[in-house]
């Protein structure tokens, strides 16, 4: 792909990339309603709203014209950064471009295109998945203590906490939960039902351990394991807690 021109002269190069992206699917076009509900979400999980880039999906809206500028302003006020719009009629596309946002065709259409392309390709030439070295899922590293009342989550991937999770705090992950400190709060792994997910911690005092919906309370945990380094796995719908090493 690269032409190997002399390095000093190259200002940039284009690379293909697949980045995890949050899609905000709008079911209302009313900026006020969106504002109210966003404010609620922000207070529930402020950690998520840190200038998070989002794609506004308007596929479910029937209106040909949208108050896109106001919706974007509401998002930005709540620390969401709209980077593109998906779907919508031609006026929506035009106003997205006018606002400096990208525009994606509606999802169904795109999937169909991809399918037809891949069907026409011979097996060997199938496009390779995401380049090596790039995580296909969004793992998350939290540095520092997770304090009482705080909730830290990695919706799709693993959550790694470099610190302790204190009593009254909650950590959630679609994948595994690793705590490199004391786990005193609640830890939920495999929240979308991944039965292979586990919880790993250096000092177990957890209020609650949950794997793919199966849980154990502090009361149910063998007292001998408290304060030790453990791994928690799912074994026939039962949480099995074993020493870490």
């Amino acid at each position: 792909m690269s032409l190997n021109v002399d390095r000093a002269g190259t200002a940039f190069s284009f690379k293909g990339g697949m980045l995890p992206m949050t899609v905000m699917e709008l079911t209302s076009a009313d900026p006020e309603q969106i504002r109210e509900q966003l404010a609620g979400k922000v207070s529930q999980s402020p950690a998520f709203f840190q200038h998070t880039p989002v794609v506004l999906s308007v596929e479910k809206l029937a209106e040909p014209h949208l108050a896109l500028e106001r919706i974007c302003a509401v998002c930005r006020a709540h620390k969401l950064l709209p980077v593109a719009v998906r779907g919508g009629a031609d006026p929506v596309k035009q106003s997205a471009w006018a606002l400096g946002l990208g525009w994606f065709p509606p999802q169904e259409e795109r999937v169909r295109n991809l399918e037809s392309v891949s069907r026409s390709l011979p097996e060997e030439e199938l496009p390779s998945p995401a380049p090596a070295g790039m995580a296909p899922v969004a793992n998350r590293i939290h540095r520092g203590t997770v304090r009482s009342g705080q909730q830290v989550s990695a919706a799709e991937g693993d959550l790694i906490v470099l610190g302790s999770v204190n009593a009254g705090a909650e950590v959630l992950a679609g994948g595994n939960v690793h705590v490199y400190g004391a786990l005193r709060g609640r830890a939920l792994a495999g929240i979308h039902g991944d039965r292979e997910a586990g919880i790993f911690c250096h000092e177990l005092h957890a209020e609650l351990l949950s794997l793919a919906g199966n849980y154990k309370r502090l009361e149910d945990i063998d007292p001998q394991l408290l304060g030790t380094a453990v791994q928690v796995r799912l074994n026939d719908d039962q949480l099995a807690i074993a020493p870490l090493v």
Binding site: A47, S148, S164, N166, A167, R184
Partner: protein, 272 residues
């Protein structure tokens, strides 16, 4: 520019107001121009602890609502130069506090003073959040008991997210742990959490340890901040705390159980 220090805890009754009064007095005694503000609107206490309740005319809410000037509302301390008190209103509630109003008051005060000490109300609602919002440093007052540690942990979470420094992505609020009502004898018996356990859970820098002392209750009832009682262990511990706040390296005292010396201190203090 003054440093804004919030004295907070989440839990009530752990010694926030006592500590705010003692620290503000200690700072003023060290020559720092200091003002201490009572944010506990509706449950005004700081003026009692500071012994100026009879001199309150206007309060923080009057200033915020433009009914009085700052200089009219601030009370000059009779014992220490450089120390002023801005009392809370007893007849209003915390809804009368507005973010803009608080900001305006603090902006004015930071120009004239070296330290602004904000005495936070208990809880995590509006009053407490406004007291901490503009802070540069926080003194988190914690008693050696499980519920107090849990509430302090919650407050530390808010300090890391619901303050101006956090929201604007500046350097985080500098957090200090102040353990009060520490009784080494009861810690030895296992009735109280020990210092190391509290520090391990909260994992922030310890700025001071105030022993359980009769001098504190006496000071409160007399309206003389305990810092003035230099014969008491609590008074000395607050002086140490203030020195550490000013960046000095002072070894920790009063955290070990010494039967004789503790008893003699208690009795010595009790008879005066």
């Amino acid at each position: 520019m003054a440093k804004i220090i919030v004295v907070t805890s989440g839990k009530g009754g752990v010694g926030k107001t006592t500590s705010a009064a003692a620290i503000a007095t200690g700072l003023a005694l060290r020559g720092k121009k200091t003002v201490v503000i009572d944010f506990d609107v509706g449950l005004r206490n700081l003026d009692l602890i500071m012994g100026c309740e009879r001199r309150v005319v206007y309060d923080l809410i009057n200033v915020i609502q433009g009914e009085a000037g700052l200089n009219q509302a601030m009370i000059r301390d009779k014992r220490v130069d450089n120390l002023h008190i801005l009392p809370a209103s007893q007849t209003r509630d915390k809804d009368a506090l507005s973010a803009e109003g608080v900001e305006k008051v603090l902006d004015t005060l930071t120009k004239d003073f070296d330290y602004v000490v904000c005495d936070s109300p208990a809880g995590i609602e509006r009053g407490a959040q406004l007291a901490m919002y503009y802070a540069d440093e926080a003194v988190v007052v914690t008693n050696p008991e499980v519920s107090s540690v849990r509430d302090s942990d919650r407050i530390l979470g808010l300090l890391g997210s619901k303050t101006r420094r956090a929201e604007q992505g500046q350097d985080p609020v500098k957090e200090h742990l102040l353990i009060t009502r520490y009784d080494p004898e009861r810690v030895n018996h296992g009735d109280m959490l020990n210092l190391e356990d509290i520090q391990e859970i909260l994992s922030i820098n310890l700025i001071g340890l105030i022993p359980e002392s009769e001098a504190v209750l006496r000071a409160s009832n007399q309206g003389v901040p305990v810092t003035h009682d230099q014969k008491s262990d609590a008074g000395q511990a607050y002086v140490d705390t203030v020195s550490r706040l000013l960046g000095e390296d002072i070894p920790l005292r009063f955290h070990e159980y010494q039967k004789k010396s503790l008893l003699s201190r208690v009795f010595g203090g009790g008879r005066r």
